[in-house]
């Protein structure tokens, strides 16, 4: 009986893993295919009917600006994460500790800002960006993404900081810490799962955004992966499928692994603070 239940569990797990891996695996398989293999409808799309080739990946790196896009995305992503944390952590902490009605109301007000869709905001924001002489540079996006990430992350962290009892900080202060040390040694480590979530959210958002990236930046040198790749690899009605898939997989796979590792830590963090 136990054996049956256990094998059922693993079967479920296997099916779930298959489901998750399937699109990524298809991307990877496609990226190495010859054109004549890919475009023959009689061929099995999941197998190599002709020997795999590296030429589309070579094309991606040598004949497009993909390396520049990669670098821009990474640069913007890291800066957006830093700006988000620098603004959202102190904001959330002070709102959480601000007693009375105003703390809660401000928290909700901050969150409401996040709900305004980018399609409404990108025209007024473009004016601000031009005013700051940042249009057409990576800085345009570095400045704009925090308008989404900071409110959301502040609201998210607000919940985390609220769940940390004040007694813990009071105890740390009577144990010999200053206000700042009590925050850094006790509250901040306990909010780590929330902060990790914010890192993932802010990075993923700046990587996946299309509307701001496409509208604020027109020079190729400042484009990100999400805006640059479709512009360079979809020409009219011609899709460079293999290079497109490669461009996607190269970003997606390392990120998936990094998030997986981070998620493990997250769960451990949750387990340590609850119960």
């Amino acid at each position: 009986m136990r054996y049956v239940r256990k094998s059922g569990f693993y079967l479920g797990l296997f099916l779930f893993a298959l489901f998750s891996v399937f699109p990524v695996a298809w991307m990877v398989i496609t990226a190495f295919k010859e054109d004549s293999d890919l475009y023959n409808v009689d061929n099995n799309p999941f197998l190599y009917n002709l020997p795999p080739t590296l030429k589309h990946i070579e094309y991606l790196f040598t004949s497009t600006h993909y390396p520049t896009f990669l670098w821009n995305s990474l640069f913007i992503g890291v800066l957006v994460v830093v700006i988000t944390l620098v603004l959202a952590v102190p904001a959330a902490y002070s709102l959480a500790r601000l007693v009375g009605r105003w703390g809660e109301r401000s928290g909700i007000a901050v969150f409401l800002v996040y709900l305004i869709p980018p399609t409404l905001l990108f025209i007024p924001l473009y004016q601000l960006i031009s005013f700051a002489h940042a249009a057409n540079t990576v800085w345009a996006l570095v400045l704009v993404y925090p308008t989404i990430t900071v409110p959301f992350c502040t609201w998210l962290l607000l919940g985390f900081f609220k769940s940390i009892p004040r007694d813990l900080e009071d105890a740390a202060m009577t144990d010999g810490c200053s206000r700042w040390q009590a925050f850094r040694r006790v509250s901040l480590p306990l909010a780590m799962p929330g902060i990790a979530t914010c890192v993932v959210f802010a990075f993923a958002l700046s990587l996946s955004d299309y509307i701001y990236a496409a509208s604020f930046v027109s020079s190729t040198a400042a484009r990100t992966v999400s805006a640059g790749v479709p512009i360079e690899l979809i020409r009219g009605d011609i899709y460079f499928w293999q290079s497109l898939m490669a461009a996607g997989a190269i970003v997606a796979i390392p990120l998936a692994i990094a998030y997986g590792l981070l998620f493990n830590k997250l769960v451990k963090g949750f387990a340590a603070t609850s119960g």
């Binding site: 007694d167 009071d170 009577t174 006790v186």
Partner: protein, 341 residues
């Protein structure tokens, strides 16, 4: 080790006066219990001693040094919280070592002192565990170990036993008191539980509405309460208070004589005629609930009598309750303050 002195302490939050003028002196090595109902300002007072709040008016002196405006870390006060406030992201050992680490004590000395504190509290086996998985009693011991690992000038306890089971609480009470007798560190112990205050305190300060109503040894407070509030707060059940002869008259449930209505009363006895509402079996004694008068003017009181007496009583009918006049406590009907007959 140090004395503690509070001079004219006030704490105002806008119009609300949480603490409204407290003067209190705690001698070196003394165990002072601050007793009061919730919201009486006792926790605020304690937080001002620890430095977590700054008094609106007044001074806090520890060992003759004015610490009113010093932050908690500069006061060397060890505080034990009602919630224990153990750091959930650290092991028990790291929790106990935390105050030492914050003060920059070297690692080798830290380890030695943690081991000693753990041994004192009997929690050596728990050192590597996470505090999250401990029982209430174990958490409380860890919190105490963390408080005593450094040599504080003063301990302040904020209802440290109130989240324990009744049985564990009685044990913890005697352990705490023994700990104090060994270390002789000045201690302020805040509680709403009169049993803890009576059992542990060298002296008790009874607080109500931001003021200290009476300070004294448990016997003084029990034997001569300064006002009706203190009288009605100490003892279980507390002193009976009824209005009679133009005063408020207090008498303990013990030592009350009961006889059938109409029985003549000696002149040295205070007598009340009241109806018995209910009899309750408490093991060695019986508890009588009695009501004098009716409606708005009805006054209730409680008497403890022996099983032999109970057999002569009848629920629902009037009886004469007598107390020797020498054992009465008299209070002013308006102010509630104790008066001498």
């Amino acid at each position: 080790m140090a004395t503690l002195e509070l001079r004219g302490i006030h704490k105002h939050y806008g119009a609300a006066h949480a603490v409204d003028g407290i003067d209190l002196t705690v001698a070196d090595g003394e165990f002072l219990a601050i007793l009061g109902p919730s919201g009486c300002g006792k926790s605020t007072t304690m937080r001002m001693i620890a430095g977590l709040e700054t008094p609106t008016i007044g001074q806090v002196l520890i060992g003759d040094q004015d610490v009113t405006h010093l932050p908690p870390r500069a006061r060397n006060v060890s505080m034990v919280f009602q919630s224990y406030a153990l750091y959930p992201n650290m092991s028990v050992a790291k929790n106990i070592a935390f105050p030492l680490k914050a003060r920059g004590v070297p690692k080798a000395e830290r380890d030695a002192r943690v081991a000693k504190a753990a041994q004192t509290m009997g929690i050596t086996a728990l050192l590597e565990r996470s505090p999250v998985r401990l029982s209430g009693g174990e958490k409380q011991k860890v919190a105490l170990a963390r408080a005593l690992v450094r040599d504080p000038a003063l301990y302040v306890f904020d209802e440290p036993l109130s989240s324990l089971d009744a049985q564990v609480r009685a044990m913890a009470r005697s352990e705490l008191r023994q700990l104090h007798d060994r270390t002789k560190v000045t201690t302020v112990y805040v509680t709403h539980d009169q049993l803890e205050a009576l059992g542990m305190g060298d002296r008790i300060a009874v607080m109500k509405a931001g003021r200290v109503r009476q300070v004294g040894t448990p016997k003084e407070l029990y034997g001569a309460p300064a006002d009706t509030f203190v009288a009605g707060f100490l003892g279980s059940p507390p002193m009976n208070l009824i209005a009679a002869e133009g005063k408020i008259i207090g008498f303990r449930p013990e030592g009350i004589g009961v006889s059938r209505a109409g029985t003549p009363v000696a002149s040295d006895q205070f007598a009340v005629t009241a109806r018995i509402v209910e009899l309750e079996f408490l093991g060695s004694t019986w508890q009588i609930y009695a009501v004098q008068g009716a409606g708005e003017a009805a006054q209730k009181f409680i008497a403890h009598v022996s099983p032999q007496v109970v057999t002569t009583l009848e629920v629902g009918s009037d009886h004469v309750f007598t107390v020797p006049r020498a054992e009465l406590h008299l209070f002013d009907a308006k102010t509630g303050l104790r008066v001498t007959a």
